[in-house]
Symmetry: C2
Subunit: 344 residues, 2 copies
Amino acid sequence: MTTIREIAQLCGVSVATVSRVFNQPLTVSKEKREVVERVARELDYRPNESARALATKRSGLIGLVWDTDHRRPGWRHPYLQELLIGLKSALSAHGYHLLMLATSGSAALRAVGASLADPVAYVNMTRRHHLGGLVLIDSGSDAPAFAAFAQSGLPCVAVDVDVDGPRATYVTSDNVGGAAMAVRHLVEAGHRRIATITGPRANRPAADRLDGFRAAMAEAGLAVPPEYVVEGDFYRPSGQSATRSLIALPEPPTAVFCAGDEMAVGALLAARHAGLRVPDDLAVVGFDDIELAALVEPPLTTLAQDKAGIGVAAARAVLTMVHGGEKPPPAFLPTRLVVRSSSR
Amino acid sequence: MTTIREIAQLCGVSVATVSRVFNQPLTVSKEKREVVERVARELDYRPNESARALATKRSGLIGLVWDTDHRRPGWRHPYLQELLIGLKSALSAHGYHLLMLATSGSAALRAVGASLADPVAYVNMTRRHHLGGLVLIDSGSDAPAFAAFAQSGLPCVAVDVDVDGPRATYVTSDNVGGAAMAVRHLVEAGHRRIATITGPRANRPAADRLDGFRAAMAEAGLAVPPEYVVEGDFYRPSGQSATRSLIALPEPPTAVFCAGDEMAVGALLAARHAGLRVPDDLAVVGFDDIELAALVEPPLTTLAQDKAGIGVAAARAVLTMVHGGEKPPPAFLPTRLVVRSSSR
DNA sequence: TGAACGCGTGAAACCGGTTACAAAGAAAGG
DNA sequence: CCTTTCTTTGTAACCGGTTTCACGCGTTCA
C-alpha cells in the first residue's frame, strides 16, 4: 500500500503538502499539485480510510438500522429492495457508504455487555465507527426503540415511522394526499357510500391515510358513518374480515379504500366469496402498489409510492444533518394513483 | 470518548496492559485485569474501531457488492430481504458488520478516477477500508465483473453465480436436485409430456436446473423433444410468451417446469389467456417460492429455496477465508418442494 | 548455586493520515 | 525602501489503538 509519506518523499515535498493536495487542493501551488497528483496516480495511491477516520473523527459511513422485529416473525418490508437502491445510490453520490450494523448475537456487542436489539448498542457502534448518522427502517413495530434513537442526539432519519428528536426526522409518502386522491377518484366514479379499512392506529402512515380519507370525504360533502371505518393491521386476513363485516351492514358501502394493498387483496377475496362483482358491486382501492396489485383478478387500483425516492430523500436528510445543516422537516413524497380494474 | 490512555492512567498501568486486557486477557494477571475491566465499564469505554483497524489492518467489515445492473433495469432480486437477514445475522454472530459499498456516482470513486460499476473500484474500497472480504450478490447478468472479483485474490463469496478464484467460492441452492424433484412430482401426478422454460444459458442456476430436469426425465424414461425446452430470461413476459408457444405446439405439453417463479406466473397468465385451466389442462411448477407464488391464482407449486440459509452459508464461507481457512467448496443448499394448486 | 526459562509488564515505535503553528518568500501599501 | 499582509510550505504533534522488545522477577533444572 502506497502511503502519503512515500509520495512525499518521491515528490520532494512534505506529507502535509500531499495531504493538502487531496483535501484542499487550492492551497497548494499548481506545480506541486500536479506533480503529487501524477505520482499518486502512478503509484495507484489509495488513502487509508481508517487513518483518515481516526484523524478526522469522520468515517464517511452511514449506519443502517434494520432489525427484523422478533415480535412479528412473518413481517417483510413491502419495498426494501427499492428503498435500498434509492438509499445507496444517493449516499454513493456523496461518497458515503452504508453500514448494516450487526445486532443480535454479535460477539462484539456481547463483549461490552449490550443486550440484544438495544438502541444503546447501536449508538455505541455509531461512536466506535465514527458513523455520521443512522437510517432507521421500520421493522414492524419497534417504535419505542426508534424513539430512543431519536433522543440520542445523533443524526437519524426514520422511514415510515414518525420520530422526533434533536437531530431526528423522518421520510414517508404523502399519505394524506394519497388517500384523498383515492377518495376523489371514487367520488368521480360516482360513489357516495365509501368505507375505509385502516392500518393500526399507532402507525403514522395509517393514521395519515385515515386523515386524508376523512378530509376528502368532507370536501366532497359525504358523510362517514362510524361503521364505515374499520381498523385492520395491514395483513390480508384483516382486510378480508373487515370487508365481510362492511358487506353485512344494513347499508353497505359501494366502495372501500384500503390503507394497504395486502388488505385490499383481502377485500377482493371477501367480495368474491360474497358473490359481489368488483368493481360493479364493490369498488376497491389499495395503497402501496405492491407487485401483487397488478396480478390479482381484477387488477387493483392503488396508490403507488415513490419507493426509491423515499430512499433518496432519507439519504439527503441524513447527509444534510451530517454536514451540519439544520434538521430537515419530515418529507412526504408524492404518491401516484394507478387506476386498474378494481375501481371505476 | 474514553481512551485506553485514560484507563491506563486511572488504573496505574501502561496502555499496553489495557490493550491486552481486551485482546489477550489471559496474558494479564487476574488482579490488573479486573481493575481494568471495572474502570472500563465505569467509564463506558468503547474501543475506537478506526484506530484498531489502522493498527491491525483488519476492520471487522465485510463488503457487500450489489449493483443494480443497468443493462436490466427492471431486475429485482427474488429474495434479497431473506438473504440479507441470513447474511447479517450470521456475520453479526461473529462480530462482523456488512458494508454496502458505494458504487456509481460516488464522488470518492470519481476522485480517484475509477469508472462506474468497476470491479477495480470495489477492490480499492476493500483496501481502503481494510475489508476482510466481499459477498457478491447476483444483480442480473454481470458475471464478467464477478470473475474479475474472483481473480482479485481477496476472499469473496458469490450468491447464485458460479465463480472461481484463489480465494473465491459460491453459494447457491441445489438446483439440480430441486429441478429433479419438480419433475418427479409431475411424473407422479401422471404427466408424461413435460416441458421446461429455462433461464439464460449463461446463468449457472439456470443451467443446473435444466440439467436436473433432463436427468430426472431420463430417469423416468421420458423423452424431451427439443421444442419442449424453451429459453427464457427469468422475467415474467418471457415465461408468458414461451408458454404461448408451447401451447401452440402440435403436441403440447401437459405440464411445464419453469426455472423461476416470475416466469411461472407468466405461464399462468398465458394459460389463462388461452382458456386453459391450471392444473387440469396445464400443470405449472416454478422455482424460488417468491412471495407472489402463494398469492397468484391458482397458487403456484414451486421449489422453495432456503433463502436465509443461503445468506448464512455465504457469511460462513467468507468468514472462513477471512480467518485464514481454506477456501470452502461451493455450497448447494437443499430445496423444498411446496405443492400448491398449480399442479397435481 | 548458577544458568535457563517463563511470565507479567512497560516503554516506545508504529499504523497512515490531518492539522496547528511557525517560518520563509512574495506581493502590496505607505 | 521598509513594513505589512498573503501565500505556500514544512515540522511536528496528534488521533487511539496494537505490538515488538527488553527487563525484572520467580521457578525449575542441572
